[in-house]
Symmetry: D2
Subunit: 102 residues, 4 copies
């Protein structure tokens, strides 16, 4: 099952600077063979359900190992059975709408 | 790794009534040996990471089998390594604060 | 416009114990005339859009005043124009499904 | 109060194609003087708290007017008092970490 995910991982008890932990998760996702797309409020990633969620679990393990005693993560998950769809497809379908209306 | 999750599953392309799908996911979580706690904006569940996420994947499979061509799910995930904590602990710690301040 | 909201407020840079801040937000919502319903992964609240979001903003102000230099909040927002619906309605519609299927 | 938001608006009861509604919200945000940044799982926007949330409310009004009887929206909200930070700052701080570690 193909899944499109938005991942926002927040380490708690580590101060206000989250970027080292976010970067560690980016590297973890990439090491898992995924192609994370960073944005201002999270990271988008897509792939096989089990591969994506195994990498998300690995992010929690890595960030805890970095010293974060607590992690709060938000995951948006999208699946569909009517047709294949990539992250790029989702963005382009909206841009096409905006262009058509312009 | 123990995880506390808030799950909100939204089937798309199925009309405005979501309760049959939410109920199916509740039963799926229970069938997986978990104890889902329903609330007005989702369902809280806790347990071993792999058991919880396998049940979430199963919810997607079941809701697609019910005819939903597309599903958008939101998952809040909490893990901590400093001490064990249950869903009940989280609620009680806030209620204790409110009582102390009253 | 009536809105049903799930609010999860996470102060950053304040240590791992979030309950004092969550409790402060609960009191802020109550002081605004709302009836927050606490659960293990957030707080559900409903009411007029402007009243609810003014209270959410006030929660950010209060938690910053308590010393949190950074706040990350997640808000689930639900509105509908087809019929009135309360938080209790949402829970009952799912419980009714579960009872019917039992 | 400056706020950085990730907005994901899901119309319900309108079929599986969400792009016309997402595009309408993009135009609504732009018409409000904001600069939405679309990504595969939502739209990032930043600005004054009241201006941003007024535009989010307007998105709900517009999407309901387009015929969506029900809307479920997810809003990630970030505020900080320790220093000013833009959406671009957030992305660059992570990219800097990744470059340093490379």
């Amino acid at each position: 099952m193909h899944v499109i995910v938005d991942l926002m991982l927040i380490p708690l008890g580590t101060g206000v600077s989250l970027s080292p932990y976010v970067a560690a998760c980016e590297r973890t996702l990439t090491a898992a063979g995924l192609k994370p797309v960073l944005h201002a409020n999270g990271t988008n990633v897509e792939g096989d359900w089990d591969a994506v969620f195994a990498a998300v679990r690995r992010c929690h393990e890595v960030v805890h190992q970095m010293g974060a005693p607590r992690i709060s993560t938000l995951i948006k998950v999208g699946t569909r059975t009517d047709r294949p769809q990539t992250m790029q497809d989702k963005v382009e379908s909206v841009l096409k709408q905006l262009a058509a209306e312009a």
